[in-house]
């Protein structure tokens, strides 16, 4: 008998590794040795290597704190044109399939993670997970081009087969390419089907002779190419037992990857046979699959009256109902978890905005400066921020920043950056305000430490000496600030460029001093302003921004900020906003106005 599954006798190969990153290379070397010994193709070797690497990486990421008791074991076995890789570990329960189902798909704008399991799904030919005996066990299957030691089956001469009594009741089947199979495709070997069936759960305990007699009336269909057996809405009058190969049940569309495999010894079609209703899913036979079709009459009048068959059949049905109930409960739980997450995000949004100073109430008691700001966050939580506060009676600190990336990780990084800026800016050295470059350097060093996600922030920081109008600026990879001197158009401030903050630890930042004439307006903004796109994909750009600011420069800081934000919003129209926008304006009235 041709066996597509794994004989227990196949020599398994085992590897035990410690849960540490260095083990990944050991796994890779071990797989390459196996692949070489079994003449696997380079592509198949790559798939094994990739999937094993991703799953082991996941175990390292999700298994909790490292402990001496935590072990990972990999077991390889091979069948005909197939390789099976089992990965066991003693860490916390972790179901990769469930994890994948509850993680949003990665995309160009999503946090840069979550690819690993998707790669495994794409590059393996199926996985199963179970938690048993304190172990996670994930089993991956690979159909491979190598391992070609399977000789063709000996041809069995077939004479007239008196047992093919009702071959016309099921064939022909439609193939995926639109052609149809012939009639009963029973081969000589299939006469031994009853012998195989006797091992199946449903027929356990039924005498061989009785099985053969019963099943002789049924059709064996063989599918050389991938074939669609049933589509939703079809009528179905037979249960299909898989003798060899595999059927796939697709619940959504035919090309959905979320399918349920039905392997050798298992069956499909029982629901529509029992209630006579149309089929509710696609059933596809993979190439090389053979199924035994038991029509409803044989099932009800011959098989089910046998008590042991009846019990087995009901047991299988019950198990399926239970599994589907469990699935419903799992989905419900995931939905509830998602709702909770969305509630949490809304709270995070409020907390984040609450951290920024209220833009309507900047220094009402100061006559020498007039300051205003506005921020629009594109998603629930954002990465843009601004801040402005007096370091002492005389020195005003102002900053605007943009964290690379979006979503929760960017938002948390933004909170760290903002908190560090406040701490470092207000730190006194000998009672004096620290030089601005030192402040940014300290913030950079602390953000760089414990920055596993390699996030970074672009920053524009400035300290205005309100007594002299001297403005010290540090620009760390951010857009230039714009200055509108009285009676002149806005122009970018010429400030030394520095690298972004958070990526490199020990670097210096260059500070540039400029003189603000009394009455001038300084505008800081994030790139969401100039890079906002219209419905036709055109960018707002710096020319439009400068023109908008020039037109508004006679008004208060609040007028200037609102003019800029309104212009961007009008320009974008109904185009989706993908980036946060933040604007901060400061009018320096001059020391004399005190």
């Amino acid at each position: 008998m041709n066996r597509a599954t794994f004989p227990r006798a196949a020599s398994p190969q085992r590897l035990r590794i410690a849960p540490e990153p260095a083990s990944l290379r050991t796994v890779s070397d071990w797989l390459h040795a196996f692949a070489s010994a079994h003449s696997l193709s380079p592509d198949d070797t790559y798939r094994l290597d990739l999937c094993a690497g991703e799953l082991v990486t996941n175990i390292l990421d999700h298994s909790g704190a490292p402990s001496r008791d935590h072990l990972i074991e990999l077991v390889l076995s091979q069948g005909e044109r197939r390789v099976r890789l089992e990965i066991l570990d003693t860490g916390r329960p972790f179901d990769p399939g469930e994890h994948l189902a509850t993680t949003p798909p990665p995309g160009p704008d999503a946090p840069p993670g979550g690819w690993g399991l998707r790669l495994v799904r794409r590059f393996s030919d199926g996985w199963e997970y179970e938690r048993a005996g304190g172990h996670n066990r994930t089993t991956l299957e690979f159909e491979v081009a190598g391992l070609a030691q399977a000789a063709s089956r000996p041809k069995v001469e077939r004479g007239p087969d008196r047992r093919q009594a009702f071959p016309e009741s099921h064939a022909p089947w439609r193939r995926a390419d639109g052609t149809a199979t012939g009639g009963n495709e029973r081969s000589g070997t299939d006469r031994r089907a009853a012998g195989v069936l006797a091992q199946f759960e449903m027929f356990r305990g039924v005498p061989y002779a009785l099985l053969e007699q019963l099943l002789a009336k049924c059709v064996v269909a063989r599918f050389g190419t991938e074939t669609v057996l049933l589509r939703p809405g079809d009528r179905n009058d037979a249960i299909a037992f898989v003798l060899e190969g595999r059927l796939r049940v697709h619940l959504g569309t035919l090309d959905s990857r979320d399918h349920v495999p039905v392997d050798r010894g298992r069956f499909v079609g029982e629901l529509s046979v029992i209630d006579g209703d149309p089929v509710s899913a696609f059933v596809v036979a993979e190439a090389g699959t053979r199924v035994l079709l038991v029509d409803s009459q044989t099932l009800f009048t011959r098989l089910l009256p046998i008590e042991s068959v009846n019990r087995s059949f009901l047991r299988v049905l019950t198990a399926r109902v239970r599994r589907s109930s469990e699935r419903i409960v799992e989905q419900l739980r995931a939905t509830l978890a998602l709702e909770q997450l969305q509630r949490d995000l809304r709270v995070a949004h409020d907390i984040q905005l609450g951290m920024l100073p209220n833009p309507e109430a900047f220094f009402p008691d100061r006559d020498d400066v007039d300051c205003a700001a506005a921020i629009r966050i594109a998603q629930e939580v954002g990465g843009d921020f601004y801040d402005v506060f007096f370091l002492d009676e005389r020195h005003l600190f102002l900053t605007i920043g943009d964290v690379c990336g979006k979503g929760l990780s960017a938002a948390l990084f933004m909170v760290r950056a903002l908190t560090l800026l406040r701490t470092e800016a207000t730190r006194r050295g000998g009672g004096r305000v620290a030089p601005l470059a030192r402040i940014v350097e300290r913030v950079n060093r602390q953000l760089f430490e414990r920055n596993e996600a390699s996030l970074f922030v672009t920053l524009f920081c400035a300290v205005l000496d309100t007594a002299t109008g001297r403005l010290s600026c540090v620009n760390a990879g951010h857009n230039p600030a714009l200055l509108g001197a009285p009676g002149q158009d806005f122009t970018p401030l010429d400030v030394a460029r520095n690298t972004v903050v958070g990526i490199l630890g020990d670097i210096g930042f260059r500070c540039t001093d400029v003189q603000l004439p009394p009455g001038s307006v300084l505008v800081l903004f994030t790139d969401g302003v100039t890079e906002a796109e219209s419905e036709t994909g055109e960018q707002f750009g710096s020319v439009r921004l400068l023109a908008t600011l020039d037109a508004a420069s006679g008004g208060s800081s609040t007028d200037v900020v609102h003019a800029a934000v309104d212009a961007v919003v009008t320009f974008s129209g109904s185009a989706p906003r993908t980036d946060d926008i933040a604007v901060l304006a400061l009018r320096f009235r001059g020391a004399d106005s005190l």
């Binding site: 990739l50 840069p112 690819w115 998707r118 590059f123 690379c404 690298t499 972004v500 790139d527």
Partner: protein, 114 residues
């Protein structure tokens, strides 16, 4: 894991990675690579011809660079010959973010145009 870089005509920086972009390989080169490719806006060609294997951690590193350049108006293209690594990158949808070319010449044309 090794990294080389050179500047071509037209201010295009070619960064060639050599070795496996698995966890170890990516960690070995990540800092250097990110600094070179994200600390200024410019035109970058990432040559993966000599990368025989790429895992999700490597995809993540490339994506961070691509995103950071594109957010700031820089241009970036990958050189990835046909093969499994290309399929892996395609599965991750990198092609939607960055052009993937089969050799340096076509990548240079892609990045120089527009």
């Amino acid at each position: 894991m090794e990294m080389r870089h050179e500047t071509l005509e037209g201010e295009i920086t070619v960064v060639a990675l050599c070795g496996r972009l698995d966890l170890e390989g990516t960690q070995a080169v990540d800092q250097k690579f990110s600094f070179l490719t994200t600390s200024r806006t410019g035109r970058f060609l990432i040559d993966l011809t000599e990368v025989p294997y790429i895992a999700s951690i490597g995809i993540r590193m490339l994506l961070m660079t691509a995103r950071s350049q594109m957010q700031r108006g820089g241009r970036i293209a990958l050189v990835v010959p046909e093969g499994m690594s290309r399929q892996v990158l395609e599965t991750a949808g990198i092609g939607q973010v960055v052009p993937m070319c089969v050799d340096i010449d076509s990548a240079r044309d892609t990045i120089a145009a527009g």
